[in-house]
């Protein structure tokens, strides 16, 4: 097997920098920075109606090329929903190709290294003017991650970051003596390390307890590696 050497150096940089240098990292974003996309007022768990994004690995099984989720950032750019306390999410994997439907937007990822092409076998679909619908199972479905982010009251321009298998310890939050009102926050939570094997799919559902008025709207950036 061919080991990748970066100018004769092995493993000197951070994991993410090494992956980028090797042309293995991609990003998928909302089309226009500063312009959020409406999601949906989802206040309860649903396995099929709370689709945030899906990502399928169309590499052939024989290639062995996995897709590894890295980070997802959501930016609450537009008017924030009222009454929120905790943002909930789940990640599922499934053997076979599953693509989120209905309120869905296909997104074209780009390689983070400009000297590599943006050719990827990942098919990325995000919510669009609503929450996506997760189709009926086509293979073996597994619940591999249950996320919980203590947002408290949401404020316009909050950001919410989900770390998929980062090294080190998780970031926490500090509950305040009174709910915040106008001061935006950058909140971070951890998720499972999500691997998408060839000819498999992962997706993430999102809901928010107990949002009342105003539909949440997000900009997003999803980074992943493919190797």
């Amino acid at each position: 097997m061919t080991q990748i050497l970066l100018n004769g150096q092995i493993g000197l940089q951070s994991s993410r920098q090494s992956l980028v240098a090797a042309g293995k990292m991609f990003a998928a974003t909302n089309p226009t920075p500063g312009t959020a996309v409406a999601y949906s007022l989802k206040t309860g768990f649903s396995i099929s109606a709370n689709g945030l994004f899906s990502i399928s690995n169309n590499n052939p099984v024989a290639s062995g090329i996995n897709i590894q989720l890295d980070r997802l950032k959501l930016i609450q750019t537009a008017t924030a929903p009222t009454g929120t306390l905790v943002m909930r999410s789940e990640v599922y994997t499934e053997t076979g190709i599953v693509v989120m439907t209905t309120a869905a937007l296909a997104v074209t990822p780009v390689n983070l290294n400009p000297s590599f092409s943006s050719s990827t076998q990942a098919a990325v679909t995000f919510f669009s003017a609503g929450a996506g619908t997760i189709p009926t199972a086509v293979g073996t479905r597994r619940l591999v991650g249950v996320g919980s982010l203590a947002t408290g009251v949401a404020v316009t321009h909050d950001s919410y970051t989900f770390e998929f298998g980062a090294d080190g310890q998780a970031a926490g939050t500090v509950g305040l003596t009174a709910a915040r009102a106008t001061d935006p926050a950058d909140l971070v939570t951890w998720m499972s390390p999500v691997t998408i094997a060839p000819n498999s799919t992962a997706w993430m559902n999102l809901w928010w307890v107990t949002q009342a008025a105003n539909t949440p709207s997000f900009e997003w950036e999803l980074t992943y590696s493919e190797l």
Binding site: Q3, L19, N66, L85, Q169, A170, W190, A197, S225, L227
Partner: protein, 228 residues
């Protein structure tokens, strides 16, 4: 897989994070409560007990010389009505030789491999609390390997507790605020020992608090471990 087989992913060595490489190699398993959003009642235990505060237990049924189980993270989400008057959550971790499982208020849980390219055939047998705290049976060669303390303060519905078992880097602290938080939930992160469960051994975690009263805590959970 034996310890001395190096995993090479399509010619790449060590490019991903530790957790991502483990997942890519099919070594990471998770155990969750069955239904996201629906918590399971634990118990209002307010004092240490070696046997009556069982939260979860994992026994490694791999053959001797086989894979060891390494705890990674445990997350608890206080989804339902929170107990009143909490200040600090306490926990202990133990290991013991032989196969140990919770009894009493418990349920067996099925771990899943996070990598869909691998089967979910973990050698870990997992039991967790269910409608109460589990009972830890009498065992031999028991070792207390971790004592944890999470300064949760007043418990608020939707608080979460994450226990980090041996993660690299600095431990996370938590700032106490000028008055008890009342409605604003918090995500608390606590260090726990690097806990390994060798084949033929078991590990478990007990949980209690100072000094919750009134309501019984209820948790959703995610237990994450590597088997390598």
């Amino acid at each position: 897989m034996a310890l001395f087989v190096q995993t090479v992913l399509n010619g790449q060595i060590g490019l991903g994070s530790s957790r991502q490489q483990l997942a890519a190699s099919g070594k990471v398993y998770v155990v969750t409560n069955p239904t996201p959003g629906t918590a399971i009642a634990f118990a209002n235990n307010t004092a240490f007990s070696a046997t009556a505060n069982g939260l979860w237990c994992i026994s490694n049924q791999n053959p001797t010389g086989g894979a060891t189980i390494y705890l990674d993270r445990v997350k608890l989400i206080q989804t339902a009505t929170a107990p009143a008057n909490g200040l600090v959550v306490r926990a202990e971790c133990y290991t013991a030789s032989g196969v140990v499982a919770l009894s009493g208020a418990f349920l067996a849980r099925t771990p899943v491999n996070v990598n869909p390219g691998y089967p979910s055939n973990s050698g870990g047998t997992v039991t967790t609390f269910a409608a109460g705290a589990g009972t830890v049976p009498a065992t031999s060669n028991t070792r207390l390997v971790g004592v944890m303390s999470a300064a949760e303060g007043a418990i608020v519905r939707y608080d979460s507790l994450t226990f980090e078992f041996g993660a690299d880097g600095l431990s996370k602290g938590k700032v106490g605020v000028t008055a008890a938080h009342a409605v604003d939930p918090t995500d608390i992160v606590v260090v726990a020992p690097p806990m390994s469960i060798a084949p033929g051994y078991s590990g478990w975690m007990n949980l209690w608090g100072v000094a919750p009263d009134t309501n019984v805590p209820s948790y959703e959970f995610q237990i994450q471990y590597a088997e390598v």
